[in-house]
């Protein structure tokens, strides 16, 4: 089985989608000739021509707004926002336009498009290259929001997102682009080439939207995680010796309540982890869902471990990032409650 980095897997997904469907177009800042600042689109312009993959002016509003128009025309744009932190100028086009077009026109116009953006911290990117804005999308009716945690899922989810007939926000954790990351920033990274989840089949396949994956089966406590935090949770389980069941949500909306509820019914305990800030974060939704659907199975309060409610700092990155020590303490707290 060939192994790929997450960057290569993302590129492969677009390459395959562009080969299979000539309506798929890819554009964004530095995306065309250069191939993107993270190299996710490297070679696509050479392969498919500048009508299919091209550079845009520095205008996130323009990128997404033009994509809405193209999608209404009948194309399937897959655009890149260089960092998720840069998406705010495009937010109105995402929330008021792409997300609602099908609804407000009663299906006369739709927005089958993907807005792909690198998300999360762990790269000393400071407050403008580290944010995790997923809750700003899961709050919006009409959007689907995806966060892969490994190259296999990144490719399969991105192909599924491009083929989906509704707008999909694809948040790729940039800290995972070249290898998994368990939160121990002072240890060497295992590259995807040496990691079993770096195995990515050639050719077309999809990972269905709306389906979670159980990364580690366990009986003591359920951990709900996505993106980078899946590896942090795995590290915390290993270090504490707690038999955690770690669920990688993969798609945040629509979420996979069946998998979540079945696990919490089994373990009776739940820890929710994400990098994004705590208050009104997606963890609040998960916590409420567990309470609403699993209350009579719960033996302890749901615990959340997240980034602090501060802007993402630079020098204090590893004080901010919810690493394995914090997650481990939360696992113990859930077990001891």
């Amino acid at each position: 089985m060939p192994r790929k980095t997450m960057v290569e897997a993302i590129r492969d997904a677009m390459d395959i989608s562009m080969q299979r469907d000539e309506r798929v177009v890819v554009f964004g800042e530095d995306v065309g000739y250069f191939g993107g600042v993270f190299r996710c689109t490297q070679g696509l312009q050479q392969k498919f021509g500048a009508s299919r993959c091209f550079d845009t002016p520095i205008s996130e509003l323009g990128i997404v707004g033009a994509a809405v128009g193209m999608a209404a025309y009948g194309l399937r744009p897959c655009v890149e926002i260089q960092f998720a932190d840069y998406m705010y100028p495009a937010y109105d086009q995402i929330v008021s336009e792409a997300a609602r077009l099908r609804y407000r026109s009663n299906g006369q116009f739709t927005a089958p498009m993907v807005v792909r953006m690198p998300t999360g911290g762990g790269i000393f990117g400071g407050q403008t290259h580290s944010q995790s804005p997923e809750a700003l999308f899961t709050h919006v009716a009409g959007l689907k929001t995806v966060v892969p945690s490994n190259p296999y899922d990144a490719k399969g989810l991105l192909i599924a997102a491009i083929e989906d007939n509704d707008p999909v926000i694809f948040l790729a954790p940039k800290r995972l682009y070249h290898g998994p990351f368990d939160g121990h920033h002072d240890r060497p990274v295992t590259p995807w080439a040496k990691h079993p989840q770096g195995e990515v089949p050639d050719g077309h396949y999809t990972v269905p939207l709306g389906k979670a994956a159980v990364r580690r089966a366990g009986s003591a406590v359920t951990v709900l995680a996505y993106g980078t935090m899946v590896y942090v949770a795995e590290a915390a389980a290993a270090e504490t010796g707690i038999d955690a069941e770690i669920i990688d949500l993969r798609t945040l909306l629509p979420y996979d309540l069946d998998t979540i509820a079945a696990s919490v019914a089994k373990t009776g305990r739940c820890v929710v982890v994400h990098e994004a800030t705590l208050t009104s974060g997606f963890g609040a939704e998960l916590s409420a869902l567990v309470q609403e659907n699993c209350f009579y199975h719960l033996e302890a309060p749901v615990v959340r471990v997240t980034g602090w409610d501060t802007p993402y700092p630079h020098a204090q990155e590893w004080d901010y990032f919810p690493g394995p020590a914090r997650v481990g303490r939360a696992l113990k707290a859930a077990m001891e409650a």
Partner: protein
């Protein structure tokens, strides 16, 4: 160095407010026939003057004069007049229906009928408009059933949009009318994206974006001009300058720019200003811009100089911010009257036929209205079902929405 003088803060204000005497004598108005008509492939830098003039065809004697005249036949002009009268009658009935409590909201076109009606006749089937809420003439002149418009306004059981949209936020892909957002300016960059897609696919269809004077201040306007300019998108970018953005006069959005059209010049986009109350001029300029787009010569920015005679919407009271007689003083007159007088001058129309035509059109609008009301009004129903509220959020209703619908007993 001596102490600098204190700075002063500048807030533009209209020349006259309620109680004052309207005066547009300082508004430069080109004479009809005066402005040249360049070839459509003329370089943008050679026609920068057109962003400051006003292209006009109908003169004070109701003659069509100058290089932009002579495009439309008697029948086409009579058809245009019929469209404008229809739109005005439609507006009158729907405005009244809102006052009678049959719907929540309405926006009329009084004074601006020529802009959308005459533009529509310059398009080909398959072209796509990205309109604002004051271009219903695109639908009326484009043959969209008035019954569907009324049912949308009433949010009744036949509402094509299932009761989900505010009145007048129509949508018809078939008639080249993109779903109206209600958020301002968002559609402008979408029009450019649609046009880019058409060019990318080597199609022949073109797009038209629409925006008002006030919302040119939105970032979407700027993004649209950047993208249109960069990719030479086959799009006509229309600015309807009706002088008022609710209570805010156009000088607040225009700032130090001489005209709204002039905003296009920095982007290298040909920019034309046209008398928006002159059906013939609007059509001629629209044709010119549409041909440019169709011949792959790129975008054109067109400013229609007009005047919003009515209130912004049924929720607005213009007497609070402008003199009641201001519309009478507006120097470009009434578009329906001007075309009527021109047709009389051409010898193909008369006062009597006009009166008769207006009465016939009003009767037919009332007949459609009665038919629409048989299918319900917002306040009396029947409406689209509560179940319709949950449909169409996604292609397939996801589990969480299904659960919510069940919880709601719907």
């Amino acid at each position: 160095m001596s102490d600098p003088k204190p700075l002063s803060f500048h807030v533009p204000a209209p020349a006259v407010r309620p109680g004052g005497t309207p005066d547009f004598s300082d508004v430069p108005i080109s004479r009809a026939g005066e402005v040249r008509r360049p070839e459509v492939d003329t370089a943008p830098e050679e026609i920068r003057d057109l962003a400051y003039a006003i292209i006009r065809v109908l003169d004070r004697d109701s003659e069509a004069v100058g290089p932009w005249a002579g495009l439309l036949s008697d029948d086409e002009l009579l058809e245009g007049l019929r469209h404008m009268i229809t739109l005005r009658a439609f507006d009158a009935r729907m405005q009244m229906a809102q006052r009678q409590g049959k719907t929540s909201f309405y926006m009329q076109h009084m004074g601006e009928e020529a802009v959308s009606c005459a533009f529509r006749s310059a398009l080909e089937p398959g072209d796509m408009n990205f309109p604002t809420y004051r271009q219903a003439g695109l639908l009326i002149a484009g043959g969209y059933p008035m019954l569907d418009m009324m049912c949308q306004i009433y949010s009744n059981e036949l509402d094509p949009l299932k009761g989900r949209q505010l009145p007048v936020m129509y949508s018809s892909r078939e008639h080249g009318f993109f779903s109206i957002s209600g958020n301002l300016a968002t559609q402008y960059i979408q029009a450019v994206g649609w046009a880019m897609a058409s060019a990318m696919r080597r199609d022949t269809r073109i797009a038209a974006g629409w925006i008002g004077d006030g919302s040119t201040a939105e970032s979407d306007f700027h993004a649209a001009l950047v993208f249109a300019s960069t990719y030479k998108a086959p799009v006509v970018l229309n600015i309807v300058n009706n002088q008022w953005a609710i209570s805010t006069f156009q000088g607040i959005a225009r700032g130090g720019s001489g005209t709204f059209a002039a905003r296009g010049l920095g982007f290298g986009i040909p920019a034309l200003r046209v008398d928006g109350n002159d059906y013939l001029a609007v059509h001629a300029v629209a044709k010119w811009a549409v041909e440019r787009a169709r011949r792959n010569l790129g975008p054109t920015l067109v400013e229609y100089v007009t005047y919003r005679v009515g209130a912004h919407s049924t929720s607005d009271d213009p007497s609070a911010y402008r003199p009641k007689t201001e519309s009478d003083a507006w120097p470009l007159g009434d578009p329906v009257l001007r075309l009527k007088n021109h047709l009389i001058r051409r010898g193909v129309w008369s006062e009597e036929r006009h009166k008769q035509g207006e009465a016939e059109i009003m009767a037919s609008v009332i007949a459609v209205q009665k038919e629409a009301e048989r299918h319900g009004t917002l306040h009396a129903g029947p409406h689209p079902s509560a179940r319709d509220m949950f449909e169409g959020v996604y292609e397939e209703t996801p589990p969480h929405l299904r659960r919510q619908r069940q919880q709601g007993g719907i």
